[in-house]
């Protein structure tokens, strides 16, 4: 029972401790003085556009069976009279990343209301599920979804990391997953006909492929800012890693030099070590396409690290939101993201414009959408509803939905006019617009809207 006994024999121990502390202090002073002071799979693609041409919910066909898409190979979902068609929304809706995923989640509810009934049947989104912006979160939520065999499709996820785990589970259950927020090339393809590492048949997205975003940022840094050296930091998430890599590859292809490429942990707070690692190459620009809160700490601590005092900070759409832009340390930073100048684009199925959407959003939630992908989320939701409409028929008062038909519709989508622009789905599920813009943050609480519109560079392949 002599534990802590040495507390009583403190004289000698105290001596040892003082010696240790003195040694540490001496070491740090030594470090100060001896430094050299240099501060200095696609399924067969059916015939193009089965998309409805009208702006209202399409009228039922004359034949009760009609000519719905699909061969029944993935099974039929039966929705009895009085029941609702079940779809789900799986987005990052809590925590710091909530600012990123919540507008996409809400967009789904607005889209379902705008769309109305499908062949006389209501559509039920159920309660929003949370992808937690993580692999584990995506997996847990996907397991809840697939336990309900009535679910036809899922809108989500927000984060590519969550989709990596959720997409195989959801698509293996015969459902489709349509994301308005995922951008990692791993989930679709390298745009040269090779499937990504985490590609699943039955996965689609309206958000762009990050190979476009990486190229846009690289061209901006090399061509517009005139920098020849840059470094990139990611957090190990497929989105951040994919985008940082896309940027690095594109920057080198432009003729620049990547002086550093490293990773942090999502819950790191002290960024001095990683920033020092980057500072050894004295890059002119530092690209960190990550999320909050890690992005807060990098922007805050970078100017204090020797070698990064004048480095220009760049981030991407994961941080392009109403929580990040007002932070004092982010003033002057550049952000790449999807082109948000939607103008008078009209979603051909609901007839709604971006202005109609933001008005409805403000009425419902009392604020403007806090991040960039709400229009992508809206189009994703409408695409799912259109696909269900195209792959379903009513038999004895029961709505029959062909799961394979839903996929066939989506893989065959060409020239669809959405809120974000023209949508074409390729064999790997990339349906989105590839227009990317770079904006510069004006700074200040009241300038979020102005900063989002402060476009300094536009890119379209």
């Amino acid at each position: 029972m002599n534990r802590m006994g040495h507390l009583t024999k403190s004289g000698k121990r105290r001596g040892a401790f003082s010696l240790f502390v003195s040694l540490l202090a001496m070491l740090s002073l030594l470090a100060t003085s001896c430094g050299d002071d240099d501060d200095g799979g696609a399924t067969e693609a059916p015939a193009p556009t089965a998309a409805p041409e009208t702006t209202e919910a399409p009228a039922p066909t004359a034949d009760p069976r009609g000519d719905p898409m699909g061969d029944g190979s993935l099974g039929i979902v039966e929705v009895e009279a009085g029941d609702a068609i079940q779809i789900r929304s799986l987005q990052a809706i809590t925590g710091d990343v909530g600012a990123f995923g919540l507008p996409i989640d809400r967009a789904a509810y607005i889209a379902v209301d705008d769309y109305g009934q499908i062949k006389g049947f209501d559509v039920d989104l159920g309660a929003s599920l949370d992808d937690l912006c993580s692999n584990d979160g995506g997996q847990a939520a996907a397991q809840i979804i697939v336990a309900d065999e009535d679910v036809v499709g899922v809108l989500g996820t927000s984060c590519s990391g969550a989709a990596v785990a959720a997409a195989p589970l959801i698509t293996n259950a015969g459902m489709v997953l349509i994301s308005g927020g995922n951008t990692s090339p791993a989930l679709t393809s390298d745009l040269a006909g090779n499937a990504g590492l985490n590609h699943s048949v039955g996965y689609y997205r309206t958000a762009h492929n990050d190979l476009y975003q990486g190229a846009a940022m690289a061209k901006f840094v090399f061509g517009e800012l005139g920098f020849t050296t840059a470094a990139a930091i990611h957090d190990g998430d497929p989105y951040t890693q994919g985008l940082a890599q896309a940027f690095a590859d594109a920057f080198e292809a432009e003729g620049g030099t990547v002086t550093g490429f490293s990773a942090i942990n999502k819950d790191d707070t002290d960024m001095v070590p990683v920033l020092t690692e980057m500072a050894t190459g004295t890059p002119e620009a530092l690209f960190f396409p990550i999320f909050q809160p890690a992005g807060d700490f990098i922007a805050d601590q970078a100017p204090g690290v020797s070698g990064l005092e004048d480095t220009v900070l760049l981030a991407a759409d994961g941080l392009l939101n109403a929580n990040y832009l007002p932070l004092p340390q982010t003033t002057g930073m550049y952000f790449s993201g999807p082109d948000q100048r939607f103008g008078e684009n009209v979603n051909q199925s609901t007839g709604k414009t971006a202005t109609d959407f933001t008005t409805a959003y403000d009425e419902r939630y009392g604020e403007v959408p806090s991040s960039a992908f709400w229009a992508h989320g809206y189009d994703a939701a409408v695409l799912l509803l259109d696909a269900i409409d195209a792959a379903s028929w009513v038999e004895d008062g029961t709505l029959m939905i062909d799961r394979q038909g839903v996929r066939d519709y989506l893989y065959g989508l060409r020239g669809y006019r959405g809120m974000i622009g023209t949508l074409n789905c390729d064999d790997f599920g990339d349906c989105g617009s590839s227009k990317i813009t770079v904006v510069q943050n004006i700074g200040g609480e009241d300038n979020v809207e102005a900063s989002l519109n402060n476009v300094v560079y536009s890119y379209e392949p």
Binding site: M1, N2, R3, M4, G5, H6, L7, T8, S10, R13, R14, A16, F17, F20, V21, L24, L27, S28, A31, T32, C34, G35, D36, D37, D38, D39, G40, T94, G95, D96, G98, G236, S262, A263, I264, N265, D267, D268, T269, D270, V272, P273, V274, T276, E277, A279, T280, G281, Q292, P293, D296, F297, D300, G304, V305, S306, G307, L327, P328
Partner: protein, 372 residues
């Protein structure tokens, strides 16, 4: 008969050889990494500097200084939290895993108080006064949290096997985290902006003012705690209870009261660390206490659990090691993405110390009969 004397007589087993191999391998990796780093610092053209990492450039003096100071500041916070683990282990013999959450409560309290002060305009007009005020509030709230925790969760289990309060402490930890989510929401909360002299790095030897403040305040807290434990009557009572609670009671010491004081003191140190965290990183979330808590526990073990100076030394060792280790040892060895390995480095220090000196840096080698 001491363990050492016995082990000399016992034949070396395969496990002993394996452990020796591990010790030698760990020391070799550290030594080779360090030598390669030193070679880089002498000249990057040096063949040894580039044998594993052809892109190695080394660090400038200012960068090295920045890393060390950042490590000491981080380590000072780990040390302050570690004191609470160590003190409670000293008197009760169990690990209070909820202590990391007391630290989080301190950072949250500081966030709420500082934002109220900022709203009233006092934060900008009198920063030092505000800082003292948030420290006082946070220390009181954290001490109360720790004392209530002891009264409600641990005292009823005082006589039970040690595993039971340990599991209870994990439950308390979850309770505090979830209470924070319910009361304050799941998003990260920001501290108000600090004055420029804290952010500017040219204040003293090119070091950020905030980090100097953290180091100074941690040192002052440690001195106060040392004085309390070593020079006051209450401190003597704590040491007596740590030595042997039954005998201490027979000598007229109120054991319950002493234990409450230990929890209050540990809570106060965690509250102080919480404020320093807030000043340095200006952001707090309900999970803020988890990783620093685990690292502080490791620091307490590294220093020799039950030893107060050891807790602080362990904190500083882990803080500095995780800050400089990746760049000084791993990068010269050609490991990629080294900054992501900082947590691994921190826990490698724990494993390393346990391999080489199982009782910790300042821990005593206890006779086997006292180990039970």
């Amino acid at each position: 008969m001491s363990r050492r004397a016995r082990s000399r007589k016992a034949p070396r087993t395969g496990v002993d050889w394996f452990l020796t191999f591990l010790r030698v391998a760990a020391l070799t990796v550290v030594a080779v990494g360090l030598l390669a780093f030193i070679a880089q610092e002498i000249s990057t053209d040096n063949p040894f500097a580039r044998w594993a990492n052809p892109d190695a450039t080394g660090l400038t003096g200012a960068q090295f200084r920045g890393l060390i100071v950042s490590g000491i500041a981080q380590g000072a916070m780990y040390g302050l939290i570690a004191l609470g683990y160590s003190m409670v282990y000293g008197v009760l013999g169990f690990i209070n895993f909820a202590h990391g959450e007391v630290f989080m409560v301190g950072a949250m309290t500081g966030m709420i108080t500082s934002n109220k002060l900022a709203d009233a305009g006092y934060w900008e007009s009198n920063f030092i006064g505000s800082l003292v005020l948030i420290v006082v509030v946070s220390v009181i709230v954290c001490s109360l949290t720790a004392v209530i925790m002891e009264r409600v969760a641990y005292r009823p289990l005082r006589g039970s096997p040690r595993l039971i309060p340990l599991i209870t402490s994990i439950g308390v930890s979850f309770f505090l985290q979830n209470a924070s989510v319910v009361l304050l929401g799941p998003a990260a909360k920001a501290y108000p902006d600090v004055p420029d002299w804290l952010k500017s790095k040219h204040t003293f030897l090119g070091i950020e003012g905030a980090r100097i403040l953290v180091i100074l305040v941690a040192a002052a807290s440690m001195i106060c705690l040392w004085y309390l434990v070593e020079r006051t009557k209450s401190g003597r009572a704590m040491r007596a209870v740590a030595e042997d609670a039954e005998i201490a009671e027979l000598m007229g010491i109120d054991v319950n009261r002493t234990i409450v004081k230990v929890f209050a003191l540990g809570g106060a140190m965690a509250g102080m660390a919480g404020i320093l965290w807030g000043i340095l990183f200006r952001s707090v979330i309900h999970t803020t206490g988890f990783l620093p808590g685990i690292k502080a526990f490791s620091a307490a073990v590294v220093g020799g659990i039950g030893h107060l100076g050891g807790a602080m030394a362990g904190g500083l060792s882990i803080g500095v090691a995780e800050s400089v280790g990746p760049l000084l040892i791993l990068e010269p060895l050609g490991v990629s993405g080294v900054s992501q390995l900082r947590d691994a480095v921190a826990f490698a220090v724990l494993i390393g110390v346990l391999l080489l000196r199982p009782s910790g840096l300042f821990g005593e080698r206890l006779p086997s009969e006292d180990r039970t």
